[in-house]
Symmetry: C2
DNA sequence: GCGACTGTTTACCGTTTACTGCACAAGGAC
DNA sequence: GTCCTTGTGCAGTAAACGGTAAACAGTCGC
């Protein structure tokens, strides 16, 4: 159900970069980091970069930003804000959704969207 | 609806500590930090402490851990894990719930709990 | 006055984070 | 051979993080 053995960020990055035919130096330049550093990241010799650089990488390679950010062990930057806006209710919700399937999560999201569309606060 | 002007962490901390009649040194010792540091935190001269120390503070003072952690601009430690377990669906859900009222969030949480109780995946 | 407490200021400190620069080796193209 | 491009290893580093120690000023009881 859930992915168990995630490939390390560096490995995924290298695969996709090579697949897209970028040289290490070229890609580093596009992202705005040194080739050295990129090399180290791809070998997992150092931690993955910050969330914003990961985002840039994902965008350049046409990959999903949230997914790559998670792979990098980071949080997409808007998420902490959302949590802080409702510091009790959102953490409670998150703990409640832990372990739900992707499908259940999708249905829940649709419920949320409906709530937002349909009005502010009515019971049904 | 949403709180607009949040009091700084340090100010809330001082109010509650004084209310509970702890001296600065005493409370610092209970938490396991230096009085110096506590003083600086309460004056907002430095950033709030790490999530685990904030948690200890909240526990000692009988305050809500999630709320205080948010006030400190930190994330309770289990939340990143929950997000990383479903790196696409959970961020999507979070963005969908942004702006919902506490009441709507509660109903959503109840839905989630029901889903988990009632079974794995059925449509209705 | 003195001692004992309160909180505060200043100066520092060690560690971690997120990188960069330089030099170098290996493999083709010509 | 000699460029040129490929990736890599090692050293260093600036800034931020998360604090601590020492000394000091104010206030109270006596």
């Amino acid at each position: 159900m859930a992915k168990k053995s995630r490939k390390p960020f560096g490995q995924v990055l290298r695969e996709k970069r090579v697949e897209k035919k970028y040289s290490l130096r070229k890609f580093a330049q596009l992202v705005g980091i040194s080739p050295t550093y990129l090399s180290q990241v791809e070998q997992s010799n150092v931690d993955p970069p910050t969330a914003d650089r990961v985002k840039r990488m994902a965008e350049i390679l046409g990959e999903d930003v949230d997914e790559w950010t998670a792979l990098a062990g980071r949080l997409t930057e808007d998420l902490p804000d959302i949590i802080h806006e409702a510091p009790k209710a959102v953490p409670d919700l998150l703990r409640a959704v832990r372990g739900l399937t992707a499908d259940q999560l999708r249905r829940l999201r649709e419920d949320a969207e409906r709530m937002k569309r349909e009005g502010k606060d009515e019971e049904q």
